[in-house]
């Protein structure tokens, strides 16, 4: 009995941190409508700053709590700075570019933190006066965690007072509901937003600084927390503070007890929980339809099939690429093989985002399913490569068919979160199902047979298969299938009223995109000779998203250009500097601010402008 009580309390302590971070996220989203991926980075910065300041001042209770407060304030200022310097310029950009910009910040902060604090885990000092534990029914429980448990409701109460009993809070709530009306009453939205970013980021920083005595500070804290915080916000209902609080409590308990009941699938539980909540309550526990974020992609100009000489550009490019092995060495071929594979991954995601307006945060799942599908056949059934490669798109396509059935029932950010949930479920199963997948150790020895083992031979094989798939995707975009998908995106209302079953079409597109990503995954497995769970982890989904957005979602060549640009930049930066994330993040920020339509879109605009002139 007492054991369960302690477990319950530790769930509450987890919930408190979760609530601090997710309350900040939900406040920022509520007012600015920006999905801020950098929120996790602010949490991490709070932890690092907290560690430094606690090391310096933390020998006394006053010093410790002063250090925590100072960290939160400093992080809040950084958040305000981000609003003024970056987000403010993007309020009128497509939401996807706001998202991309916050990814850029994530990368920059990663390397900045690594540069300042190093990549070693940092163990912080315990809070003075709270080092011990108390016995709760004969079970020891850390005193510090008890304080955290109290802090959750305290912060909720303070936030409630702030939003309900101060003029500032009243204005924020008014602007959240109707920005234009508030502005017509003399409220300056820009200043309000800076303040909101300050508050939201400070809450994340506070959550991070408070973790210092509990866990080692490291460079992986950002992604881990932001994904969990998103789950909390979505489960609770976007923009609802009380919802975030309730969801934090539920998820804290789920984690505390899940580990007892289902030790094998603890990681899956949270995402499974979110998927179930979203299927039953489309806008989260306390969310309302009107607070739901709008769908992501806005319709662009018509896709124009290249005419004249430009029609032969893809064929020419293919011929050029096919000739590369005649002149290039092995290293260049390896990089180029990867580029071709990633181009297929990006193009498959573009089918969803660019044509369907469906932003997937979990496309890596299908890349990974393809890779694992192929590798498992090789490992357990000694399947030959052609069979394994044929299975890759099939496995991924079936996975996408299953996940897609749920995902397309929701739109906008909720769709994105469901895709993320399924990706995390697939990832955790792979990670934890040691007997079959080898867990963390992955599957080794997935090499092509002799005839395809040479770098040039495998490159040609990749070019043929991925090139074929790219061609199919391109044809599909111009065929009725792609037009119907775009029709559903441009105007669901109109599409449904001219006989189109939009949801079913999106579902099939999801499966098609999944199987194309699966083929890319299969090719990737044989090019590396091994597969690991990281193939389907969040960073790969994010990379794919960045490639698509970098290239621009409004052109079909965009994802290919984006994949090449991204991978080459990444490889180049990695080989030249340890600070490649910083470089990449900075490039993304510059691109977002300079080319709000993506690189390929920008070039095409130049081209059309030049022609019209």
């Amino acid at each position: 009995m007492s054991f369960y009580l302690v477990q319950f309390l530790s769930g509450l302590a987890t919930a408190a941190t979760l609530f601090l971070v997710s309350s900040g996220l939900t406040i920022v989203f509520g007012v600015t409508r920006i999905v801020n991926f950098a929120h996790g980075s602010f949490y991490m910065l709070g932890a690092y700053l907290g560690w430094t300041l606690v090391e310096r001042w933390g020998s006394t209770p006053l010093g410790f709590w002063g250090a925590v407060a100072a960290s939160a304030l400093a992080v809040g200022l950084l958040g305000a700075l981000m609003e003024v310097g970056l987000l403010r310029r993007l309020y009128r950009s497509p939401e996807l570019f706001q998202l991309l910009a916050t990814f850029g910040v994530v990368l920059v902060v990663q390397d900045a933190a690594s540069w300042i604090w190093g990549s070693e885990d940092l163990l912080g000092r315990r809070a003075p006066g709270l080092r011990g534990s108390v016995d709760i029914l004969d079970q020891p429980f850390p005193l510090y965690d008890l304080v955290l448990i109290g802090l959750g409701p305290l912060v909720l109460g303070l936030l409630w007072l702030l939003f309900n009993r101060t003029r500032w809070g009243t204005l924020v709530r008014a602007a959240t509901q109707d920005r234009d009306m508030a502005s017509a009453l003399g409220v300056d939205p820009a200043r309000l937003f800076t303040g909101v970013l300050f508050l939201g980021s400070a809450l994340a920083g506070l959550g991070g600084a408070l973790q210092v005595p509990r866990e080692a500070v490291n460079l992986h804290m950002d992604m881990a927390i932001v994904v969990e915080a998103f789950v909390v916000v979505v489960v609770g209902g976007m923009g609802s503070l009380t919802g975030a609080f309730v969801a934090s409590l539920l998820i804290g308990q789920l984690q505390a007890f899940g580990i007892l009941v289902f030790p094998q699938i603890t990681l899956v539980l949270v995402f499974l929980f979110m998927a179930v909540v979203l299927v039953i309550r489309p806008y989260g526990l306390l969310g309302r339809a009107e607070d739901a974020p709008p769908t992501a992609a806005s319709p662009g100009p018509p896709l124009v099939a290249a005419a004249g000489a430009a029609r032969w550009a893809p064929a020419l490019l293919l011929a050029l690429l096919a000739a590369v092995p005649l002149v290039a060495g092995d290293y260049a071929l390896i990089v180029l093989t990867e580029v071709v594979i990633l181009a297929l991954l990006a193009a498959s995601l573009h089918l969803l985002i660019g044509l369907g307006g469906l932003v997937s945060f979990g496309h890596a799942a299908y890349f990974g399913l393809g890779a694992y599908g192929a590798a498992l056949l090789v490992k357990h059934f000694a399947a030959p490569m052609p069979l394994a490669l044929a299975a890759a798109p099939l496995v991924a396509g079936l996975g996408a068919l299953a996940a897609g059935w749920f995902c397309v029932r929701r739109s906008g950010l909720y769709f994105a979160m469901l895709t993320l949930a399924f990706a995390q479920i697939v990832w955790s199963v792979t990670f934890q199902w040691y007997g079959v997948t080898g867990g963390d150790n992955g599957i080794l020895g997935v090499w092509p047979p002799d005839w395809a083992a040479g770098k040039a031979a495998y490159y040609w094989l990749t070019l043929a298969l991925a090139g074929g798939a790219l061609l199919l995707l391109r044809r599909a975009a111009f065929a009725p299938f792609g037009y119907t998908l775009r029709a559903g995106r441009d105007s669901t209302l109109r599409a449904e009223s001219v006989g189109i079953d939009v949801r079913r079409h999106q579902w099939l597109s999801f499966a098609l995109a999944g199987s194309a990503a699966g083929l890319a995954g299969g090719l990737y497995a044989f090019s590396k000779g091994s597969v690991f769970p990281t193939l389907m982890a969040v960073p790969v989904s994010v990379d794919a998203l960045v490639m698509v957005l970098m290239g621009g979602i409004q052109t079909l060549s965009g994802p290919v250009v984006g994949a090449a640009l991204f991978h080459l930049l990444e490889t180049e930066a990695m080989s030249r500097t340890d600070w490649w994330r910083l470089v990449l993040g900075a490039i993304i920020l510059v691109l977002v601010l300079a080319f709000p339509k993506g690189v390929a879109g920008f070039v095409r605009d130049l081209w059309t402008r030049g022609r019209d002139a």
């Binding site: 044809r475 009725p480 119907t484 775009r486 079409h505």
Partner: protein, 248 residues
């Protein structure tokens, strides 16, 4: 005149507010029926109930004798009810011609082709429809850059592409210049004669309503308060009071 649409005792409430209460009317082939009433009277709600966008709380809608209540919009469209929207809803990322082709592809159930270009399908049919509404010259322009009045005409061509028996037009001339309004309605009237269409439309421009409707029904706070020929409705004191206002 054969009866196409028969609406009986339609009801719909939103969160306790009764937006449509007990609306009944019939619409016959060859008729151009105007649904008028002050803002917020429930006109658009009525339309949404007819084409399946909203489900009525009670009442029946029969199309050629078949009850269509509860069917999704895409099914009702396939049964022959076309619609244009108050705020134009075209496929903004496609050209004018492609918008019409999209509808034709749907009519012929060719939505899943993966290989042959969509832009090659039913090209001539699409062009013929666009010529009919006077948009032939602008067929290759993206819908996203069209003037409002032109979008309305594209909407009409898209609706015609479905070869409807009944056409619902929600404020078909809003945002158009006066000359264009008369032109579009004259076009609609001639289509009604050619194809034996039944048209139900809402409109705020009284010149359009009294110039082109063969019959008028008047909605106020969710209820029909008058029905009749344009002259009869114009003379109805109740209509004067609620709609035409103190000005008359």
């Amino acid at each position: 005149m054969s009866r196409r649409l028969a609406v009986e005792n339609l009801q719909r409430a939103f969160g306790g507010v009764q937006a449509v209460r007990g609306v009944s009317f019939v619409l016959g082939a060859g008729e151009v029926l105007a649904l008028i009433g002050p803002n917020g009277a429930g006109k658009t709600t009525c339309f949404n109930l007819l084409n399946g966008q909203l489900r009525p709380d009670a009442g029946t809608v029969r199309l050629d004798g078949v009850d269509i209540v509860g069917l999704p919009p895409r099914r009702i469209w396939r049964m022959g009810v076309g619609r244009t929207f108050q705020i134009t809803a075209t496929f903004a990322s496609m050209t004018v011609r492609e918008n019409v082709q999209m509808v034709l592809l749907s009519v012929h159930r060719r939505l899943f082709g993966l290989w042959n270009p969509a832009a090659a399908g039913f090209r001539d049919e699409a062009m013929a429809l666009l010529e009919r509404v006077g948009m032939g010259a602008q067929a290759e322009r993206p819908c996203g850059v069209l003037a409002y009045g032109d979008l309305k005409r594209v909407e009409l061509a898209m609706a015609l592409a479905g070869d409807p028996k009944v056409l619902l037009m929600d404020e078909p001339t809003a945002g158009m210049a006066p000359g264009e309004r008369q032109e579009l309605m004259a076009l609609t009237s001639s289509l009604v004669r050619e194809r034996g269409l039944a048209v139900l439309f809402t409109e705020h421009d009284m010149d359009v309503v009294f110039g082109h409707a063969t019959r008028i029904i008047v909605l106020d706070r969710g209820q029909l308060i008058a029905e009749g020929t344009p002259d009869a409705v114009r003379a109805d004191p109740r209509v004067q009071a609620v709609y035409l206002g103190g000005a008359a």
